[in-house]
């Protein structure tokens, strides 16, 4: 039987929800987390494990400088999230394989180099240093790159972490701190009443003074239960991993030619993704063959030796996306006590700080980082 009351109900057992529950429980709140399925089984467990900081190059080129300037304040949140990532293994008592050895946007044309420089300029204004490396500097730090790479944008603080380890370890830490987690408990309705909320699930009803919507790609549906429309949606993505190879690539690799993220993970495999769409079948997702060939081509273009490596497995998941890439963080307008913890597209990187800020707001404290210019709710 499910408990019928809690101070705070958190909806969603991904990195945002679990870590929010952890912080809240550590702050002494009585927290109940509801997860429809398994913990970390959606985006937070299926992502590519990149810890991003710099503005994504393909979007910079596609949406232009004005968009980048509007998005740039979010880099402050990502920067502080990276700091939390660096201490996270110690905090949760497990090696999350966090390695921040820097990210490289690899260019093959002068036009791309110019775009990288323009992007670096905007990033610098937001306090993020991206160094524009010339060909020989690039070869010095990344000799495994293609001969025709003429330079790169190098953001030294980026890197990777292991998503398979992160969510279970965070969930365990949240439970140790006193949070109660109910899996296989789907929220089907929310009723606002008497200054609080009744969260209706397929396993029973819970009353809560405050509710956190951390339902990722499904956050729009949760908000809709209270009549709130959110500009967030789910987009199908796929990622591929290769057989293990000797440790060669310390960096997070992007390409200026198109969508790519490539990294070598702790067990030696190369994880290759970067936002390639998966195909839909019924309610589910399957690997899209054209995305697969396109993604592998992008990878081999930048690191030629990957062509000789075997792909072992691809997988698919829904990512939470907003059109302008900005997060939806804070108390929902007109719904006191209903909080939104939604960082799109790179929500794994941003997860720790998204959770920290949400916990602050739920506890009625000013957020660790002012949200002005970052959250669309704080414009």
């Amino acid at each position: 039987m499910m408990q019928s009351k809690a101070d705070v109900v958190v909806i969603g057992g991904g990195i945002a929800g679990l870590m929010t529950a952890m912080y809240l429980a550590e702050d002494g709140a009585d927290v109940l987390l509801l997860e429809a399925g398994e913990l970390g089984a959606q985006a937070s467990g299926a992502n590519a494990g990149s810890i991003h900081l710099q503005i994504q190059y393909p979007e910079f080129v596609a949406y232009g400088e004005a968009w980048a300037r509007a998005y740039a304040p979010c880099l402050r949140l990502l920067t502080s999230s990276l700091t939390l990532w660096q201490g996270l293994s110690d905090r949760v008592g497990e090696d999350l394989q966090v390695k921040l050895a820097g990210g490289l946007v690899v260019a093959r044309t002068e036009t791309q180099m110019q775009a990288i420089a323009a992007k670096a300029h905007i990033e610098a204004e937001a306090g993020v240093e991206t160094i524009v490396l010339n060909r020989s500097d690039l070869r010095d730090i990344a000799p495994y790159l293609a001969e025709d790479a003429i330079g790169a944008g190098y953001c030294a603080r980026e890197g990777k972490a292991n998503p398979l380890r992160a969510t279970p370890a965070i969930a365990a830490a949240a439970e140790r701190a006193g949070a109660v987690i109910h899996r296989h408990t789907r929220v089907i309705a929310i009723e606002a009443e008497g200054g609080g909320y009744t969260v209706v699930t397929d396993k029973g009803r819970v009353q809560a003074g405050r509710v956190v919507n951390a339902a990722g790609a499904a956050a729009g549906q949760i908000a809709g239960m209270l009549g709130l429309t959110l500009g967030i949606d789910g987009f199908p993505l796929q990622v591929t991993v290769t057989e293990p190879m000797a440790a060669t690539i310390p960096h997070l690799i992007y390409s200026a030619a198109g969508k790519l993220s490539l990294k070598q993970v702790a067990n030696g495999g190369l994880v290759i993704g970067g936002g390639w769409p998966a195909a839909r079948r019924g309610d589910g997702l399957v690997t899209d063959p054209r995305s697969l060939t396109g993604n592998m081509g992008m990878a081999a273009g930048v690191v030629p030796s990957v062509a000789g490596v075997r792909a072992l497995r691809s997988w698919t998941a829904w990512v939470n996306g907003t059109p302008d890439w900005r997060p939806i963080l804070g108390e929902a307008p007109g719904l006191p006590g209903f909080f939104l913890a939604l960082f799109p597209w790179v929500g794994f990187s941003a997860g720790p700080m998204t959770a920290r800020i949400t916990a602050d707001l739920v506890m009625g404290r000013p957020p660790t980082l002012p949200l002005k210019g970052i959250s669309v709710l704080a414009d």
């Binding site: 970390g40 398979l164 899996r183 190879m245 592998m296 081509g297 000789g308 072992l312």
Partner: protein, 554 residues
């Protein structure tokens, strides 16, 4: 054993003789070399499945890492090396496609040229449909008709298979061997690698006939070099005239162990023991009689094997199960449950039933239901063998165990039905085939009732590996189960079980059973790891080779 060496290759610098047609695994085994690769945790591994499934027989071939020795022909002058767990990325060769991508669009594509696939091809081709068969192996025939790759006399099974192959080709079916299908996608798109080039198939309909692979005995020592499946040894002997070892022991359950035990004894091996989990047939007279009545000829073959084995003095121990295998005295020590007198063997062969190779079917979304008697999924089919996916048929063991005669009857039915659905040939009376199929299925039921292939939970010590590839042991799995996974996929994420090269072919069914037992839920279709692209590891260069051809396709 037969034939003269046709040259030599080197293994870690040592010269190894080879005979024409031999696989690397066969030549190495013949030379007494059993350890082919090192694992990340420092163990050694060798040939296990002998059919390209387990991915454990990896070697470095002329500098190219991670080649399957069981699927790679031995060639004079090759430089073969023990495979290290983490090959150098910098030296990974950047293979250029051997030829431009080939796109085929037959009326009917048949995946698997074994008993079922060949029969389907003959039927569909005779009805007028154009047919292409793709098979992973160099020679068609499949597991029952196991064709010889070296020269020498054929046995009766091989001659029957050669005949079926000849009929398929004479009917005008094209058979392309050495095709590694790595992806199957909606709209019936198949992507494959063929001798270093891309092969893309866009048929109007497809029949999957990929057969089965063997279920091992998951016991301590089952990953040691020298321990292999019974079918692996059968392939070594029947395809390459190579004995798996001088002294062999067979463990598990089922008719294959008896048959292969006899074949190896006839071939000159010393069969030191056959341990069969099931009770002796003379202790189960009613079941044995039912078997004899349902298929007199086949039952007779089985009983004759037993008698032959006895005549040769091969100890067949019924009601005996493997406890553990240990490395000892340069060989393997095999201990049975409750037994104080272990035997020593050079090779231990295991077969505890079969699991269907249904990855392509499940990848395409075909529905299946769990068959608790056999402990595996059966693909849902109508009486023409059509699956729940339009245009997709499944025949033979890949749809659920049925044996070669049933696979052939199903092949004939599906071949005609698929052709008719495409407008070739019309109303076809399948009465005779349906009756044969009924008989074959009855025989199978009675046959397996005499053996003991009930799916088991691995009742093994914590340090026994469950996942060969990722080296995940029972203790780690038990810890993962302690976290109350609701699904095998959750256990996979928690422990990495099934994340390796073989894609969970061996540990996946075990994980499904463990999670079901731990959660008190029945095993069902969705209890298994979801199949993923690529269904077999594929070089990224081979994926890229398909890119251009895919772009042009509709």
């Amino acid at each position: 054993m037969t034939g003269q060496p046709a040259g030599h290759f080197t293994f870690d610098g040592k010269s190894v003789p080879l005979r024409p047609g031999q696989s690397l695994a066969a030549a190495l085994t013949e030379a007494g070399l059993r350890s082919f690769r090192q694992t990340a945790k420092g163990a050694t591994r060798g040939i296990f499945c002998g059919m390209g499934v387990c991915q454990d027989c990896l070697v470095t071939v002329n500098g190219a890492p991670n080649r399957r020795a069981c699927m790679t022909p031995a060639v004079a002058g090759q430089d073969i090396r023990t495979q290290v767990p983490f090959p150098d990325l910098a030296t990974a060769p950047n293979p250029q496609p051997a030829a431009p991508a080939r796109v085929i669009a037959p009326d009917l594509l048949i995946v698997g040229g074994g008993a079922g696939g060949l029969s389907a091809a003959i039927a569909a081709r005779r009805a007028g449909a154009s047919v292409t068969i793709l098979d992973e192996r160099k020679v068609g025939g499949g597991q029952y008709f196991k064709q010889s790759a070296v020269s020498g006399p054929l046995d009766a099974q091989q001659s029957a298979g050669a005949d079926l192959l000849a009929q398929a080709l004479a009917a005008g079916a094209e058979l392309i061997g050495e095709v590694e299908i790595w992806g199957a996608f909606d709209g019936l798109l198949f992507l494959a690698e063929h001798k270093g080039a891309a092969l893309i198939a866009r048929p109007r309909a497809a029949i999957i006939a990929t057969g089965a692979y063997e279920r091992p005995e998951i016991r301590p020592g089952w990953t040691l070099p020298g321990v292999m499946t019974t079918g692996a040894a059968q392939t070594l002997w029947r395809s390459y005239r190579t004995l798996p070892g001088k002294r062999v022991a067979l463990v598990g359950s089922g008719p294959l162990n008896l048959q292969v035990g006899l074949e190896l004894a006839q071939g000159g091996a010393e069969v030191v023991m056959i341990a069969e989990r099931g009770p002796a047939p003379w202790l189960r007279p009613i079941a044995a009689a039912a078997l004899a009545l349902s298929g007199p000829a086949l039952a007779w073959t089985g009983l004759r094997s037993l008698a032959d084995l006895r005549k040769r003095g091969v100890p067949v121990r019924h009601g005996a199960a493997l406890d553990r295998i240990d490395a000892a005295e340069g060989a393997l020590r095999v201990t049975l449950m409750g037994d104080l007198s272990p035997v020593i063997a050079d090779a231990v062969l295991m077969n505890a039933g079969f699991d269907p190779q249904n990855e392509i079917l499940r990848l395409l979304g075909a529905e299946a239901i769990y068959d608790p008697a056999f402990g595996h999924l059966r693909i849902t089919r109508d009486d023409t063998c059509a699956t729940t996916v339009p245009g997709l048929y499944a025949v033979g063991d890949c749809a659920g165990l049925g044996g070669a005669p049933a696979a052939m009857a199903e092949g004939r039915i599906a071949g005609r039905a698929a052709a008719a659905a495409l407008g070739f040939g019309d109303g076809y009376d399948t009465f005779a085939d349906q009756r044969q199929l009924g008989r074959a299925r009855r025989f199978q039921r009675h046959l397996w009732a005499l053996h003991d292939v009930a799916p088991r939970l691995p009742d093994v010590p914590d340090d026994t590996l469950i996942c060969r590839c990722e080296e995940i042991d029972a203790g780690q799995i038990r810890a993962g189960l302690g976290e109350k996974p609701g699904h095998a996929g959750t256990l996979k994420r928690a422990t990495r079980v099934g994340m390796g090269r073989c894609q969970g072919r061996y540990c996946g069914p075990v994980a499904a059973r463990l999670v079901a037992a731990a959660t008190g839920t029945p095993v069902q279709d969705r209890s298994y790891f979801a199949p993923r692209v690529p269904i077999k590891p594929v070089a990224i260069s081979a994926i890229l080779a398909a890119e251009e051809a895919l772009k042009d396709a509709p």
